[in-house]
Subunit: 249 residues, 4 copies
């Protein structure tokens, strides 16, 4: 098996402007995620990172063409992501690149563009956060393989329903929070030839991406979202002759 | 509009053998449910009741043929329901009769027979119960119409995931409980020509079926599960000629 | 019941520039569709029409606010629809307005914007067209109520798979064509609070919108896509206190 | 990777009683299927076979416990399969064993028992059969990997809609036939911890199981249906303490 080529994208603003968050994520949120993937997947993965501040946000045509699965973390700078890059990412997803959108990425341009809805939700972040329990409701799904029932995250921002997304292809995880809310915290979609996984745990104020079970989920997600063999190519219109008509289809 | 013909079935064992439960449901669980439907639907519904102790459990061919939607509550006497009646009910569901299965009815013969899985789950019933919050995750679904976000049920038995059911057609409600569990508490299925709705709130120890919002959900469920026009007829095998072949299809 | 307020939108270019098509649809494609809805739904519908050439394409804020269900037919002028109007329509759909997209509308801006995919497909239109058979695969769905199995459309443009759409909420119809292709010709989606129905029969070169069964499907679709009671309001982010915390939620 | 342990079950009646069919399938339908799996999967599979005439139909507890994926072909002897064996197979599927049901197996006891519906359909088998085209409608699904669009099967029995099954988890293939019918010919379900794939091509009168593309689909299906790691264990009811309550969960 060839190693999976992963790019972890992070806007990277909190860590460079807020010392308290830099203390939690000294290598950035992207760094912590990439380390987690290497920890779980070992030689099966080659993980690079990219951030908003990089030229073309680090998401040039070359980088995307060399990426099997792209992870996306953003929060306070969604608007600063260029529409051109968003459309480039979308074309790669339609052509087969996997996309994993994390936590506050629910409001990213790329997520809203792929799904078409507002992607709005209910949230709350009291001092110290709330305990999140992540329950598996689809135990045969590859993304749930080897995951504890439930995952216990001691401190997290609360995300609650109604989460305005299209009906997912697969509902893998549902979370509850101390305050009583529930959230569809692990959901999958297919768009064009690309697989999309949204996973909500992971706020910048809490060390969620160091949690071994969260790392397991993201590693499973990367395996699941990896493209099928074949060229990176979005579905396209065609005007064929009937099958068996003698003319080339 | 002709009134919907509803039959509320209850095993009716708790209320006749346990005075504390009879005190909560003096007219039986079936009585409370039927009253709730009349309260919400008024002249749009004609609700009768039937119990395990009735001849043929009150579910003769005649009664089922005269029923648009059957509600099912059972708990400690699932085994006493005759296989013949279960198969009769199944045939009516396949032919178009709506079926609403309630709470501990998840372990009824008819539910397991229609779904094929174990229908097992996680449960807990501490002294005084736990608070259940019922969250709508599909606000455009007819069963969620006019329902508060969330429904607050002060005391309930806890039901938690993993709930071993097939992937539902529609996931309408997800509940959380004081102890942190989550549960897909409102789910729909189609089997043959029949619509099935499972709704989990409603333990015999708590007056859940008097809750106005629970009554609203059940009334919406009855409307939703009502059959399309046409004869009560399960899909059947056929051996037709091709369309337009001149022979009768 | 209050009458359903329907707006039938058509780009209206073929009928005004090609006499052969004007001969098939003397009142325009929009006119034929609106007549069909009136024929089936009678006083239950008030149908108006709008076209590309109208100011704001006939889709002002006032018109949309007064529309329960919008039908959309377009083909050669998708690019001429203003982005501002598309976004306005999208907001109304997210807020609850029903949307029915027809035939070549699969490539309309609004459909692609709501679904996120390329919406590409396979097509062929030989002289005289191909026979399309529309098969119901979900007989309990409200959109299939009273519809013949199959609908026989003697002449149509062929649309075939792969049709690049997200997995639909409900698959209602599958078509076959003389040349052997198949197509998911009747599919539903929910986006925000709005219901979307795509139905593929209906090319400008064939009198499909006069077909009684096609008219039945569109009338069923209008009933199904009509909004639930309540204000026209897209889901929005909120930051509530926990339930029962004493503070307003 | 350990080799997948596959058991191909066939009632094996046609081949032993009808010389014309024995001539098509000299090693039995089960033999042809097993050969196809070995051809495509090589050392990744160990395929054994079993038939109705074997003791316990060749499906003892020992055999099933040693089986990752069971393929099922039956037609005229469904009634002769013992209920005890059917329930044994069901328990293994609920516990994680993959199940692939083929063609006329739609009317097998195990398929109906897992799905709950009548599994009825429309069929026709004119002299020489009809051409079946199998179209992929979910190109990212693992079962569609490397499969031609469409698969052309020159002669087959026709199976048409309405096919009375629950809404599948995934719709992978739709077939058309010379007579114009369509059929959801490749569908997946999850029941308990087990994955189920139904694939309709494969009548005893035609050499369908020698078709390279059909063999590809079945090999893909075996890979997809293989269990996740872990013990063979159906979901079961549990009565845990709350998470973090200090008592064992």
């Amino acid at each position: 098996m060839t190693a999976l080529r992963v790019t972890v994208w992070n806007e990277g603003v909190h860590e460079t402007t807020q010392p308290d968050i830099a203390a939690i994520y000294p290598n950035g949120i992207h760094g912590a995620i990439a380390e987690g993937l290497r920890e779980v997947l070992g030689d099966d993965v080659v993980a690079r990172t990219a951030t908003l501040a990089d030229p073309e946000h680090g998401l040039s045509e070359e980088v995307l063409a060399d990426t099997d699965v792209l992870l996306w973390w953003g929060h306070i700078a969604h608007d600063q992501v260029s529409d051109e890059v968003v459309e480039r990412v979308r074309q790669h997803v339609l052509g087969g690149m996997g996309l994993i959108v994390l936590h506050s990425g629910h409001f990213s341009k790329i997520f809203i563009r792929m799904l078409g809805t507002t992607c709005s939700l209910r949230w709350r972040n009291p001092e110290g956060g709330e305990r999140e329990l992540v329950w598996t409701v689809n135990p045969t799904h590859p993304i749930a393989e080897g995951v504890e029932q439930p995952i216990v995250i001691e401190a997290q921002e609360m995300y609650g329903e109604f989460f305005d997304i299209p009906t997912p292809d697969d509902l893998v995880f549902i979370s509850s929070f101390t305050g009583g809310e529930v959230f569809r915290s692990g959901v999958t979609f297919t768009r064009g030839r690309g697989r999309i996984f949204y996973f909500s745990p992971g706020d910048q104020e809490y060390p969620v991406y160091f949690h071994p079970q969260v790392r397991r989920v993201l590693a499973n997600g990367v395996r699941w979202a990896a493209p099928s063999p074949g060229p990176r190519q979005a579905p396209a219109v065609s005007n064929p002759q009937p099958v068996g008509s003698g003319s080339p289809a």
